[in-house]
């Protein structure tokens, strides 16, 4: 079992809906985005194109983050999900520096989205979910996945640009897409073996 995601760059419209969906599902504080969609102009007029590039934790099979993690807080689960045990994280942030994909943030404190105002009822309800002073990143919505649901960013994406499944199962949609469309991994030259594949780029 190795969970993975395929991102179809032809389908992605760069709406950043996934970015906010993930934020609200996980209650992350300001500045902490577990996923985001980079938008870049390429080419010269009039042969210009946008490159939409959804980024999240790549759930590397050979993760830099866990290689450098001095406490073992970051580890790879049996299902391929790279997680952070917040109770074991000392907040050294080496994983943040080491992750080649910029997938990690450091949650210094849980602040409100409305500076100078009292925390909102929603924020109060979520703040308890966060251990401040620890690293944070996408966990492939491990809770949901354990309950048989798809990650939030997958479900919310109107364009169906994100497809989730088991890369070890050759019959799964993700495996087939990777095979058919020659899925690419970001920075594959680093040998980190991401479980996130990009197709139709």
């Amino acid at each position: 079992m190795r969970y993975g995601m395929v991102i179809d760059l032809q389908r992605c419209v760069g709406c950043n809906s996934c970015t906010i969906a993930c934020k609200q599902a996980n209650g992350t504080p300001p500045g902490v985005l577990r996923t985001r969609v980079l938008i870049k102009e390429t080419g010269t007029y009039p042969n210009t194109r946008y490159q939409y590039l959804p980024i999240l934790c790549m759930h590397c099979q050979v993760p830099e983050c866990s290689r450098v993690c001095p406490t073992g807080a970051t580890k790879v689960l049996e299902n391929g999900i790279v997680t952070i045990d917040k109770d074991a994280c000392i907040g050294c942030q080496f994983c943040v520096m080491a992750c080649p994909y910029g997938a990690r943030s450091f949650v210094e404190e849980y602040t409100s989205y409305f500076p100078g105002q009292e925390m909102t009822a929603y924020e109060k309800s979520q703040s308890g979910r966060f251990q401040t002073g620890t690293a944070d990143k996408c966990d492939f919505c491990a809770d949901r996945v354990a309950a048989g649901e798809l990650p939030v960013c997958v479900v919310t994406c109107g364009a169906h640009a994100r497809i989730f499944g088991d890369l070890d199962d050759p019959e799964s949609e993700v495996s087939k897409l990777v095979a058919q469309h020659h899925g690419k991994q970001l920075l594959s030259e680093l040998g980190s073996k991401p479980s996130v594949f990009y197709i139709n780029g």
Partner: protein
């Protein structure tokens, strides 16, 4: 990325401590400069301690720091282990200076020298991360190593000047210092040249706030001024010698600090083009 000041202080002070210990050990091995053995060791110990404390300040959850013991093979674990080991050897060395036989002390000094060098190098090697192309080169830990040695030599020089050491000793230290500075200039140069993409090079020496820091603090203050000072310093001992030594040390500290801070400024992640 943003400058991580606690880490800058950590690497600066461990570098200073390791360099000083290395200098004390080297002169001991050469049978010279006995007068600074004790103050030098104390300086080294205090620096290593400040470095250690800085690293604790870097942690958001220092109460869990002992978990690091479970993974000593990691970059941070290695630093931690080497720092502890170097500190212990330094303490041992300090204990031995008074009572033990010279040969035992020399053996410990030799081990201390090696450990100091290893610590200074490792502190830099921690940042050799494939995910940070600007850091992922051997010139980075080399820079840390050479910078630590230079800091050590200059600390030794200050102590010697303060102890009114003889002109001969001062001259050999002066030569060591000049040699160290030249080496540092070379290593820093190679590091800058190793920045592979033009964007990275540009960000160091051409555009933004980085070039100012680089040319002014690293090159002018950290390298040129101490070099000039070493060339024009008075021959014999005296308060002038001490003043020159003091200023030179401050310059190399400023340079070392800036080098380390700059590392963070140029250390952007890779561009994620497909």
């Amino acid at each position: 990325m943003e400058v991580q000041w606690t880490l800058v202080l950590f690497t600066l002070f461990t570098g200073l401590g390791a360099g000083t210990f290395a200098f004390v050990a080297t002169t001991d091995l050469m049978g010279k400069a006995e007068e600074i053995r004790s103050p030098g060791s104390w300086m080294a110990l205090i620096s290593l301690a400040i470095g250690g404390v800085s690293s604790v300040f870097h942690l958001a959850h220092p109460e869990r720091a002992l978990l690091v013991l479970s993974r000593l093979g990691t970059n941070v674990g290695r630093e931690f282990a080497l720092l502890a080991l170097t500190g212990l050897v330094l303490l041992l060395y300090m204990g031995l200076t008074r009572r033990a036989a010279a040969s035992t002390r020399m053996t410990v000094a030799a081990i201390g020298l090696l450990l100091s060098a290893a610590l200074a190098f490792t502190v830099g090697a921690t940042y050799m991360l494939p995910g940070r192309p600007a850091w992922n080169t051997f010139f980075l830990p080399l820079t840390y190593l050479v910078s630590a040695l230079v800091l050590g030599v200059f600390t030794g020089y200050v102590l010697l000047a303060w102890k009114r050491a003889g002109a001969d000793l001062l001259r050999s230290v002066g030569v060591m210092a000049l040699g160290g500075l030249v080496l540092e200039a070379v290593v820093v140069g190679f590091y800058a040249a190793s920045l592979t993409t033009p964007a990275m090079v540009g960000s160091v020496i051409l555009t933004g706030s980085v070039p100012l820091l680089f040319w002014f603090l690293v090159v002018a203050i950290g390298l040129v001024i101490p070099t000039l000072l070493m060339l024009v310093r008075p021959k014999g001992p005296g308060s002038k010698q001490t003043a020159v030594a003091g200023i030179a040390l401050l310059s190399v500290v400023a340079g070392g600090l800036t080098e380390r801070a700059l590392m963070f400024l140029v250390g952007a992640g890779p561009t994620l083009g497909l």
